[in-house]
């Protein structure tokens, strides 16, 4: 659910850009440092970015029988960590805006804030928390539960943040921010809650397979 170009008042668009900027700057700095330290890393980062873009272009089933796309926030945060995701997510969103007309350029900051900052951080927090809580439950169960929670929560957090952004931009004439937040979140939740569950399931299948096919790569990424 990308906020379209021009949908936010320009003051809001500017404010969200400012809010996202430090996270993106930090992510870009750690990315460029990694690339300068090791020339091999440049192609791997390219691969990670291409993977993030294509992942978010895959279709997953939704309730209405139509399809939607995963946010990829959870998987990205677990594989590449939230700071790097802030940078990769921004690049992905820029390409989505220019190649697919998903999201806009002036609303890029707002979309980055919800999808490349809040989503990944919420997912990563959930991942770490569940990992710690289920440490005694065996690697497969622990990893599965943590990945599910990360992906589902990452997806939910993203959409909650989008609802907040829209509610702040368009407060309800009678009840202000809470009323319009309830309206936006209500409209989106019909589709987004089942989607978050499905994204969680898909991500579990994906990570389980990676554990068998590419364990070295995962270990290098520190999963």
């Amino acid at each position: 659910m990308h906020i379209a170009e021009g949908y936010l008042p320009w003051q809001h668009a500017a404010a969200w850009t400012a809010a996202a900027a430090p996270f993106v700057a930090h992510g870009v700095r750690s990315l460029t440092q990694a690339v300068r330290a090791d020339p091999d890393a440049k192609l791997l980062v390219g691969a990670a970015g291409a993977f993030c873009f294509v992942l978010s272009a895959l279709k997953i089933p939704s309730v209405s029988g139509s399809c939607s796309h995963p946010t990829g926030a959870g998987l990205g945060a677990v594989l590449f960590r939230p700071p790097v995701m802030a940078a990769l997510g921004t690049i992905t969103l820029l390409f989505q805006a220019l190649l697919l007309a998903h999201g806009g350029l002036t609303t890029l900051g707002a979309n980055v804030f919800s999808m490349a900052v809040v989503g990944p951080w919420a997912a990563y927090g959930a991942y770490r928390l569940v990992r710690a809580v289920t440490a005694s439950a065996g690697e497969q169960t622990s990893l599965g539960a943590a990945v599910f929670c990360a992906a589902a929560l990452g997806s939910l957090a993203t959409y909650t943040m989008t609802s907040v952004q829209l509610a702040l931009a368009f407060p309800d004439p009678a009840s202000g921010f809470p009323g319009s937040f309830a309206t936006f979140a209500g409209i989106f939740s019909v589709t987004q809650v089942p989607l978050a569950v499905i994204e969680g399931l898909v991500t579990v299948v994906l990570v389980r397979l990676l554990c068998r096919v590419s364990p070295d790569q995962l270990r290098r990424l520190g999963v």
Partner: protein, 290 residues
């Protein structure tokens, strides 16, 4: 393959698979076909030949239900395939498409897991799916690979695993896009042997290839394709016609020339088919010399 245009389509024997009046174009580009008719008789090996960009892969994808024609219809066992999810699923089950690059079709961690993907999607229970897997691995002579992780297999092994995955759907028609590409001569030979075994067991084979020599010795019928049908018919008639081959931008196979030369040398009686392979030709020459 019997081809028919217009009225006599109904007179042809029931085809295992047919496309009638197929038109198709990718968005924002010129149509690939307009009104193409294709009839594939049961139990045949059909070679699909033509230049790159001539529409071979597009035709294979239309026949196997992975693309839907803009106009025209696909007939499976004489019955038109209706639009809609159930009819499409039935077409896809019965006509299995095997891609050129095996990595496009291997997406599970182990061979058994990968081959069982299709049977499980058919709604089979675990035991029935396992049976299908065992049978398919046996048919492709790769039972020993069952527990292997897919990413450690050689190219030729991966090609066989993908074929087993398609075969586990028990299709009536196997559609193969360049099955011999990237294989060494020995690999080509052993794959052709295996596929011949499947054909003997009743599977119809539609095979796209660049290898005119292979098409000469293996295909029963041939379809020449260059953005629309150029010709179709008995392989040994089509592939012996230099004008047709030139139109399809193909070079002629060696076998007819070698056969003519051997007949001219009196080493083959007139009217007999020529040698299918260079080894056969050498043997005839050696016998004459020795």
């Amino acid at each position: 393959m019997t081809t028919a245009s217009g009225g006599d389509a109904t007179a042809a024997p029931p085809a295992a698979l047919a496309g009638l009046g197929l038109s198709f174009g990718y968005p924002d580009s010129a149509p690939v076909f307009a009104g193409l008719d294709v009839h594939i008789a049961p139990g045949e090996v059909v070679g699909v030949l033509g230049p790159n960009g001539g529409g071979k892969t597009t035709l294979l994808r239309l026949l196997s239900g992975s693309l839907t024609p803009d106009e025209g219809e696909i007939r499976l066992g004489g019955e038109p395939v209706r639009r809609g999810r159930r009819a499409l699923a039935e077409l896809r089950r019965s006509v299995q498409l095997v891609f050129q690059d095996p990595d496009d079709q291997l997406f599970s961690a182990s061979v058994t897991q990968d081959v069982s993907f299709g049977p499980l999607n058919l709604g089979l229970d675990t035991a029935a799916a396992r049976e299908r897997v065992t049978w398919a691995l046996e048919a492709l002579e790769i039972t020993d690979l069952a527990e292997q992780p897919t990413h450690l297999l050689s190219y030729g092994q991966r090609k066989r695993v993908v074929l087993a995955g398609a075969l586990a759907m028990r299709p009536s028609v196997l559609v193969l896009d360049e099955p011999t590409a990237g294989l060494d001569p020995e690999g080509v030979e052993s794959l052709v042997q295996t596929l011949e075994g499947l054909r003997a067991a009743g599977t119809t084979l539609v095979v796209s290839t660049h290898d005119v020599d292979l098409a000469w010795r293996w295909a029963d019928t041939v379809l020449l394709l260059d953005r629309g049908r150029l010709a179709s018919g008995q392989a040994r008639e089509i592939l012996a016609d230099p004008a047709l081959l030139a139109a399809a931008r193909l070079r002629p196979p060696w076998a007819p020339a070698a056969g003519r030369a051997l007949r001219a040398a009196g080493l083959l009686p007139p009217g007999t088919p020529g040698p299918a392979t260079p080894e056969e030709a050498q043997r005839l020459l050696d016998e004459a010399a020795g």
